[in-house]
Structures are given as C-alpha cells and as structure tokens.
C-alpha cells in the first residue's frame, strides 16, 4: 500500500482494525513523507524514533477496540506533552520540556494514537499566517511561498500535505478554521468548555479552545469525540452530554433551517467569496435544508472587541514568562533589567505588540473605555446569536474574506492581517462551535472554505450539515507535492 498517507483517518482505522495495515506500516509511511517534507517547515520538534518504537509496541499487542488504534499523529506545539519540548512557537519556551501532559493529548494517547512530533504555529498562537513563529514560516502545501494561515499553520500544512492523518489545533479567533480554509481541509472549533484547556499554553483564556483538523468531516467528528471531555482540572470545562459524533454522523439535514447573516457581506470582499457563499447556500438547499436571511447586527464590532479582549487576557497570561522559573532568561543587572531583557529578547514583535495593547486597555483610566466596553459588546454579540438561534438551527458564512496570501504580503500591516479573522472571531466571542469545510477554489486554484456556526454544544448538528454539504461539494484538494524533490 504505497498510498498510506493519502488515506483518511477513517480508512486507516479500518485497515488497522482489519489488520490490512499495522501501526508500524502507517507510522513509517507518515514519517517517511514527513522526512521528505522538511521544506514545509511544519514541524518544530520531531519525535519519529520514539513514534516508531511505540508503533512496534502497539503491533505486538494491538488493542483494536480503541478509537485511534496505533494511529500516528503530530500536534500543534501549544499542547504540553510530557517529556517532549513544548515551545508555543516562541524563543522564550525554546528549552521548555513539560513534566505533564495536556488533557486533550492525554485523551488522544488513551485512545491509542502515537505522537509523531510537535507542529509549528504562530508564537503563542498570535497570528493568522504562521509568520510570527520563532521557528520560521510554514509553507502551504497548495503552493510555494503561500501562507498556510494561522495560528495552527503547521497543523493545517501537515494535514493538507499528508504529513499526519489528522491533527489538533487551537482556535482563539479563527486559528483552526482560517488555516483549514487556506489549506483545503476541515477544521472544527468546538463550543467553549467542550475541550479542556488544561496543559494548553494559554493565549486568551476566555476564547481559547482546542479542536480537530482533518481531511474530511467524518475524521473530524471522530477526533472531536476523542478530545472532548469534562475535566475538573479546568474550571471552565463544562459537564454536558457529549455525543458519539462520528457514530451519530448523518447526511440527513432535511428541514434544517440555516441562517444567512447579511452583515457577513463585508465591504471589499472579493466576488469569488460571495460566489462561494451563494454556492454554499445552493448546496444546503440541495440537501433539503432551508435558508433563512438573518441579522447579526453587532458583527462589525466583533473584530475591535476581540482585539481588546484577547490582548488583555494575553498580557496577563504571558506575565509568567519572566525568566525566573523556566524558559529563556537573559542576563540582567538586576531583577527589572533581567525581566526587560528576557521579555524583549524572548518574545517576538507581534506578541510584544499584543502585550502592549492588552496592558494599555487594562490600565486604570482606560479600563472602562476599552476592556469593560468590550465585555459589554461581547455580550451583545452573543445576544445576536441567541436571537438568531430562535429562528435557525445553524448559520452559514464564508470562513475567510479571501484565500491564502503570499508569505510577507501582510507582515507590515497588522490591521489587514487582523481582518483575516473577521468571520471567525464572532464565534469565539460567543463561545459557539464553528466548522470550516473546503468548498471551492479561487482563480489561482487556492482553496476556499465555508463556515457553519452552531448553537452551543450542538457540534453534532454542524458536523451533520458539513457532512451533507461535503458530499454535494465533492471538493478535491490540489496538492502537487511541489516541495518533494
């Protein structure tokens, strides 16, 4: 089977369970392809040798009742992994090796999966192009010098480039859905509280959520089923009845009401995005669902609100990286000097920018005008969705206002970079689940994604809608393996 890496997770699991493939076969195949794919720069840390050992060990006594039996996978380097360096894409954690495991990755290993390595990402997940990583740009497998999106850029690149069958990312303002859209894969941001944040390097605590990234909706559903759990170690984890998402997956969405929010038709949006959206509307109708025009009136305030709330929380969350206890430490004349040098040298420009913004908006005299007001607007944005969900079961929007852009194209213009998140950010602010599925190509042949936003805890419903649409769209990602010599 030479095409192991082209197989979906579902196929791999089936083949391992039926013993057509061993975990060693599969692990080897992904390692080999990863070795040939260094130019993508998707990995920060490779753990291939130990992955192969684990695969061999699995094959000696395979437990085929597990959900991910002997499946190798790489994960975003924001998840703390026991005894494996965890950097968050930052120099300041370049030497940091956790003694503990995040709950989400623990759940994955408990279901039989094997760690291949840690994937590149924007520094502390702050970025939309993977260009803020201390470990360099990630290439989009779609085309040379194209960004994979961010912050889970390494994750998206690795799945699209078939370096890993599936992966997990984190999504604070679109960090799973936007790179999924840019690389032609499926990415789900679950409801806030669905996946434990324990052991995930924090960016903005009230927005961060881990989620699955995969080649198709079914794989995504299976991985979501594995990673979502109630965790008493995370006070914001929510104890609700979790579905067997992959088993309960159905393409029957007849009679579902899908909202089309007029506010997502933003100024300057390329025509191909509008066309894609219209196509999406037709697809859901073809599946027997009904579309309803709705209004989410506070949408235009979402981005400014996000860029107050997220930096505010980040400025405080990143205070612990001070050179005192672990991570990078610069030499200083005294404590303050050491702090200043450590943080100036240890953090990149984008992280420093957000720490400054966050510190500013929380400062006395500005708190009411910025942070407090942003919290009020956040409530209004959530109310918009609550009102809409009185009429509809889910909402369909484009995932991003454009397709992937060139490396370096937006690095000097943070605001234009931030605009990438315009359709994804409201979902984080409202704590809702959202999924991006590949739905077409632009004139360059670059993938474009559609986003389905659900009610809180209603992952099953948006997975079903995505599953039904996926069948109709019949998307084929154009991967030419350009980077493999």
């Amino acid at each position: 089977m030479s095409d192991i890496t082209k197989q979906s997770l579902t196929e791999l699991v089936k083949n391992i369970k039926s013993k057509k493939l061993s975990s060693t076969d599969v692990t080897k195949a992904f390692i080999e392809r990863s070795e040939k794919s260094k130019e993508l720069n998707a990995y920060i840390t490779e753990d291939f040798k130990s992955a192969l050992n684990k695969a061999k060990k699995f094959d000696q006594k395979p437990n085929l009742d597990l959900k991910l039996p002997g499946i190798p996978m790489a994960v975003k380097d924001l998840f703390c992994t026991k005894n494996i360096k965890t950097t968050a894409g930052s120099k300041i954690l370049n030497n940091f090796v956790p003694t503990y495991e995040s709950t989400v990755t623990e759940n994955i290993w408990n279901e039989g999966a094997i760690l291949l390595g840690k994937l590149n990402c924007d520094e502390f997940a702050m970025g939309s192009s993977n260009e803020t990583s201390f470990f360099g740009n990630v290439q989009n497998p779609i085309d040379k010098n194209l960004v994979p999106g961010g912050s889970s850029g390494g994750s998206a690149s690795a799945v699209a480039g078939q370096l890993t069958p599936i992966t997990i990312g984190t999504d604070t303002g679109g960090s799973i859905r936007q790179p999924a859209s840019f690389t032609g894969i499926v990415g789900l941001k679950p409801t806030y509280g669905s996946c434990s944040r324990y052991g995930i390097v924090a960016f903005a605590s009230s927005l961060d959520q881990a989620g699955p990234m995969a080649q198709n909706v079914k794989d995504c559903a299976l991985l979501q089923e594995v990673i979502s759990s109630y965790d008493p170690k995370d006070s914001t984890s929510i104890d609700f009845k979790r579905n067997q998402y992959s088993k309960e997956l159905t393409n029957n969405i007849k009679g579902k009401k899908i909202g089309i929010p007029k506010e997502y038709r933003v100024d300057g949006m390329p025509k191909e995005i509008e066309d894609l959206w219209q196509k999406g509307i037709q697809y859901v109708k073809d599946c027997g669902a009904e579309t309803v025009d709705i209004s989410l009136p506070h949408t235009s305030y979402a981005l400014p609100t996000y860029y107050i709330v997220a930096p505010a929380e980040a400025s405080s969350n990143l205070a612990r990286y001070d050179g005192v206890k672990y991570g990078f430490r610069a030499k200083g004349e005294n404590l303050i000097d050491m702090y200043e040098k450590t943080r100036s040298e240890g953090f990149g420009a984008e992280v420093q920018r957000r720490i400054m913004i966050g510190t500013y908006v929380l400062s006395s005299g500005y708190y009411d005008a910025y942070y407090l007001k942003a919290q009020k607007v956040r409530k209004l944005i959530k109310n918009d969705f609550d009102d809409a969900y009185k009429k509809v079961d889910a909402i369909l929007t484009p995932s991003t206002p454009s397709s992937a852009f060139k490396i370096g194209e937006k690095t000097d213009d943070p605001v234009s970079m931030y605009l990438n998140d315009i359709f994804t950010v409201p979902v984080n602010l409202a704590g809702l689940p959202g999924i991006s599925i590949p739905a077409g190509h632009d004139s360059n042949g670059y993938p474009l994604g559609l986003q389905i936003i659900g009610k809180a805890f209603d992952e099953q419903n948006i997975l079903n809608i995505a599953f039904a649409m996926e069948e109709k769209i019949n998307f084929k990602n154009k991967i030419t393996d350009w980077w493999i010599k």
Binding site: K233, A319, L362
Partner: protein
C-alpha cells in the same frame, strides 16, 4: 451585653492648643486554616523545607489552571458569618497584575470588585464599655511566595511554599481610634476565627498580619485626614508602636503647617519609626480584571445555611450565656471567652464539678492560680499541667470542706507535677481538713484555757483578738481545721 458607658478613655494627641484624634482602619490578612492551597492541592504546612509544597499550578507552569478549593470558600463564609456580615452569593476572582520574583503567575488572584463577604461588624470589650467596629468586606486571595535576600550576596532565593496559600483579607471601616482599640480588635478577630477554626491566628508564623491605615484630624472634625498605609505589620505590639509613631509624625507635620502625602510606609521595628516606601504617584497600576480561568463563584442559600448551622457558639454569645447561666460578672466572662481554649477548659471544669458546684470559686482558681502558673511557664491553656478534671476535683474538695483554701494551694503546687489527682494527694499526705466539731471544740477549749487573759479582753470588747484565736486554732491543727467551724465554735465559746 455590657452596659455601654458614656465615659470615654479617649486617645488624643495634644499639641499646644490643639487636640488630635487618630483614625485607624485595618486590612488584616488572615491565612485560611486549610490543608491545601486556594487553587491547588499542595500542602500548606508551616516550616516545611523550601519549595517542597509547590505544585505546577503554584509555580505557574504553562497551561496550568487554578481550581477553587471548596473548603477555603467555606472557611471564608464561616468567617463572614462570625463577623455578622453579609454573605455575597456571587463573587468574582480578579487578577491583580504585577511583576515580582516570588509571584510566579505575574498576577495574584484576588477578589476586587465583588468580594465573597460584604459589610459586617465586631464588638470590642473596652475598659470603658463596648465599641462596635464596622467590617467593610472580606475577600479571598492567594499569598505570594517568599524572596530570601540574605542567603547569598549576589542572588535572591525564592521559596514558593506560601505561593497560592489562601488568605482572607478582612478590611475594617476607619472606626478605630487608638492603639488599644486596634489591639482589642485584632484580639477579637483572632478569637472569632479561632472559635470558628478558620484561622489559627498565629502571628509569629505570619498567619495573621495587617496593613494599618492611619490618619489624624483635629478633635471634633468630621472630615478624614490624609491617610498613610503602613504595610505588613505582624504583631499587635508593633501595630501599636507604628500607629503611635505615625500619628505623631502626622500631627507634627500639620503643626508645622506642612501637608501629609498619601503614601505607603514601612514600620522599622528596630528604629521604631515608619518610613516612606512608595508615594501615591508611584503606586502600582494593578490592571485588575476578572480572571478568565475562573467562573464567578456562586453559592446557594442552602450552602450558606448549612454552614450557618455548623457555626459554633461564638465569643459574644458564650459570654452572654456565661453571665446568664453561671452568674459570672461581665469582666469574668470576657476573660474566659476571649480564648476558645480557655472557654473550653472552663466549661469542662464546670461539667466535671457535678451538681453541688461553686462556679465562682472555679473561676477564681482558673483566672488566679492557673493563669499565674501558665504565665510563669509560658504555656497555652491547652498545654495546662493541670487538667480541667483535676482542677474540678480540687475546687470540689474546697467546696465540700474537705480541704481549706490554704491547703488547696499547697495541693495545687503538687498537682503541677504530672497532673496528679488532688484527692489522692489529700489522702497520701493526710491533708484532709479537720471537720469534726468535737475535736475542734476540744482544741479551742484548750486554747481559751491557755489564754484566759486575752479571752477576757475580747469579751470586754477588744474584738480584733478574734483573729488571734483563729490563728492559734489553725496552728494547733496544723492548718487542717475547717476555718468555718473554728469561727462558729470560737464565737460560741467566747460569748
């Protein structure tokens, strides 16, 4: 309750023609009595080896999250109930952001806008009557670690054992007016918390410390003066000294026509003076905001009511009961209830004395002989060399006439060594009181016979000679004769 007397032992600072009143408010930091920390499962034992009680959460490792310790919440609510305070059913944990080497997170989790406990009050028993002190609020927060600067000339060491330990910050209203009131207030708070078992109140170990806010104003003025905050004072004596110094410093400034800067000051215990630490302009901007890792803390009525049912009798109620039930004076009752162990000891003595008991006598023995011994030996009453049971037996022996008060003191001395049973001491040493009237009569007859002249003088009106006869009788009996019987029989015989 005591009668509130109008008489006022005012604490005033006099300068030339002016009299100044001192206004004091306290922010007391009381360590919650709990096996584990506020947001982690690490132990909180005092005096452990440095950095042996530190979890990944306490050391703020990446991705670590705080989880509230329900027991600490209960302790705070119980304390709130003990302070007659409003329990807030919804409170919020905020982050207080600042950088310091012993603050691993780069922020302290504290309650800023919405504390768990709101307004309350405590009653102080002052020599001139009772005084009510308002409580502004009580909130839960984390303690920081400890920076150790004196172990190495180049480096500072950090011990994170304290990092994350639960503290209750109890903020009083500016109702205190003298160092003595501050002392009484701290003692009362400590007493209440020890009754509740919510704080051990051990100031030497830092379980109880306070920031002291001091301002002065001319007597009769309604306006508050500019206050200075004296940080982290860890003994009642130092608080009193610091207030005295600081109030006088402020008065001197006013007298010189200068103004007082609102600032944070430190008390130098060696020089007995306060020193400026930072001015208002240099004050930190803590950038408080609700901690997004923690949901607002919500407690139900049932939760609070269950804790209310769990509250033991507190000092004020116990005092009232001691007065009503045991007919103690307010003074005696105040002494006995001020410390929970003293109150426990007293109640145990009362219980062991049985039916025919003399409570007044027991109180005298506890506050007299026993306290003196404890004081001498520098012991807590919980370490008393004489158990409540044996003290009860001793008091009963006096009450039923088996021994005299004088003999009792001798026996008490003997009891100190190994908590001996006084009954046995009486038997072994033959110290039983002579209470046979016939034997005493015979003894007295002999004394009157031997001192006929004095007996005549007495009968002629020289009444103070009665004491002489009592003394002679006592002496003749080797101190064992029942003094009451001697009195009675002597009176009869000398008529």
């Amino acid at each position: 309750m005591d009668k509130v007397t109008k008489k006022n032992l005012e604490y005033l600072i006099n300068r030339k023609d002016n009299q100044y009143e001192v206004v004091i408010g306290l922010e007391v930091h009381a360590q919650v009595l709990s096996e584990s920390k506020l947001f982690s499962t690490s132990a909180t034992k005092f005096g452990a080896e440095p950095n042996t009680q530190v979890s990944l959460v306490d050391a703020a490792f990446p991705g670590m999250l705080p989880v509230i310790n329900e027991f600490c919440v209960k302790q705070a609510i119980k304390t709130g109930i003990g302070l007659n305070a409003k329990i807030n059913k919804r409170s919020v944990f905020d982050r207080k952001n600042y950088f310091y080497a012993d603050l691993p997170q780069g922020y302290q989790i504290s309650q800023f806008k919405d504390p768990i406990v709101g307004e309350g009050k405590v009653i102080l028993d002052m020599p001139d009557g009772q005084k009510e002190v308002g409580i502004e609020r009580l909130h839960l927060e984390q303690d920081a670690g400890k920076s150790i600067h004196d172990l190495d000339p180049q480096n500072t060491f950090v011990d994170l054992n304290r990092s994350g330990v639960a503290l209750m910050e109890i903020v009083s209203k500016p109702d205190l007016r003298s160092p003595d009131e501050v002392s009484a207030y701290i003692k009362k708070l400590r007493s209440i918390m020890r009754y509740l078992g919510t704080c051990d109140g051990n100031m030497q170990e830092g379980s109880l410390r306070a920031d002291v806010n001091v301002s002065v104003r001319t007597k009769g003025s309604k306006e508050f003066g500019t206050r200075c905050e004296i940080k982290n004072v860890n003994s009642i004596k130092f608080m009193q000294m610091a207030i005295e110094y600081e109030a006088n410093r402020q008065v001197d400034l006013i007298e010189e026509g200068k103004s007082i800067d609102q600032e944070t000051r430190l008390f130098d215990t060696k020089k007995n003076e306060t020193r400026s630490m930072r001015s208002k302009e240099d004050a930190h901007d803590y950038r408080y905001f609700p901690d997004p890792d923690l949901l607002p803390l919500e407690v139900s009525d049932d939760f609070v009511n269950e804790l209310k049912n769990d509250i033991p009798e507190l000092p004020d109620d116990k005092k009232k009961r001691f007065i009503d039930e045991f007919k103690l004076s307010p003074y005696e009752a105040t002494i006995l209830v001020s410390d929970i162990d003293t109150a426990k000891y007293f109640e145990e003595v009362v219980a062991k004395m049985g039916k025919n008991k003399d409570i007044k006598l027991a109180v005298n023995w506890i506050t007299g002989e026993l306290f003196a011994v404890l004081n001498n030996k520098n012991l807590e009453i919980s370490q008393s060399p004489v158990s409540a049971k044996n003290l009860a037996i001793l008091v009963n022996l006096i009450k039923n006439g088996t021994i005299s008060g004088k003999i009792a003191k001798t026996i008490f001395e003997l009891m100190l060594d190994g908590d001996k049973d006084p009954q046995k001491i009486v038997e072994e040493k033959g110290l039983k009181q002579e209470s046979d009237p016939k034997a005493i009569e015979a003894l007295i007859d002999k004394i009157i016979n031997d001192n006929r002249e004095k007996a005549i003088e007495y009968k002629q009106g020289k009444e103070k000679l009665f004491g002489f006869f009592v003394g002679q009788a006592m002496k003749a009996s080797g101190g064992k004769a029942n003094p009451q019987l001697i009195n009675e029989i002597l009176k009869k015989k000398l008529q």
